[in-house]
Amino acid sequence: MNVLAATTSTSTGEAVQFWVLGTIALVGALCTVMMKKAVHSALSLAGTMIILAVFYLSQGAYFLGIVQIVVYTGAIMMLFLFVLMLVGVTSADSLKETLKGQRWLAATCGLGFGILLIAGIGNASIDSYAGLGKANADGNVEALAALIFNRYVWAFELTGALLITAAVGAMVLTHRERITKPETQRELSQRRVREGKQVTPLPAPGVYARHNANDIPALLPDGSIAEVSVNKTLRARGQMRDVSNEPMSNVAELEGQAESWLGRVTPKRVVRQPEENGSPESESEGAAK
């Protein structure tokens, strides 16, 4: 932007841009750290990265600015989201600290480190800057290319090798080699019988016709829920919606009506206590009923 060889101050426009976007970037960074859900963190980070890309552009690093958007925000953050999707939400998302004193130590170190860095930068007393006018004279991309393919070509080649290795490594890591013959249906059923766990097929989720969503466990004859009817991932995330109280209370209500209709004494209503692993949602739902 600035074509002068050595200047002390940037344009006002850039200053305004810095103060506004810089604040947003900071907020984004803080959100990345403090958001409870990983998805929210990822989105905040993406925002911060885009703002950084803008900063790159405004500082004369055009190539990097574009790369930042394309590679970082576009590719890397998408990868993060993909993985998030695969992994899903876990209990690790909880913001509750489990290590004693970890937070205090982290705060102390962070604060100390930040102060030191800032003090160091302040100490450096850079009042003027050269600007990239001269370096970018033939165009930023051409100048970078000249450097990369001349002085840094060796490092560049190595980085290429690294990337390929990383790609192969990721594949190797995520790939599961089957080292035994896949079990046939017969073997599976035999094993089920041998282990005596669950011989029949798993129950399907949903309660009658009213709730057929995948996250709602089926009910057993006594009114309790059959957890195995819900997908394992959902269970791991704790996204199991227990609606057992609703039909139970409906039945009880119906029975009450029938009793009163028949003029008999209302039998004591049995209210099932929520399961231990019932998610907060299901708890609140139960309470709402």
Binding site: F18, F63, Q68, F80, A92, N136, L144, T159, A167
Partner: protein, 99 residues
């Protein structure tokens, strides 16, 4: 405004990222915080490039990005694998380093 302010911003972002690494338990978020730290460094490099008027800083930032990309790929693959085995993405669960 002096470009030094970018450096201050970079320092703050780095510190926030570092604090995130220390505080969060979800491996993916920890990873994101690491990315944040790398980005903070990149910002500093780009700013130095501008202050000194040569492009070496940008080159370094470029390489950092490439390496970061490689790191993310491998790192996420590892997280996935661990999740598959342990059904958890918490960094605290992988405490096999304990004596």
């Amino acid at each position: 405004m002096n470009p030094v302010n970018y450096l201050y911003l970079s320092a703050l972002l780095f510190t926030i990222g570092a604090a995130g690494v220390l505080v969060r338990r979800n491996a993916i978020i920890v990873f994101m915080c690491v990315e944040l730290m790398l980005n903070a460094c990149n910002l500093a490099f780009v700013t130095f490039s501008r202050i000194h008027g040569n492009l070496d800083g940008q080159i370094i930032a470029f390489f950092t990005m490439v390496v970061a990309a490689a790191e993310v790929v491998v790192g996420l693959a590892i997280i996935l694998m661990i999740f598959r085995v342990r059904h958890s993405a918490s960094v605290d669960d992988a405490n096999l380093m304990k004596l």
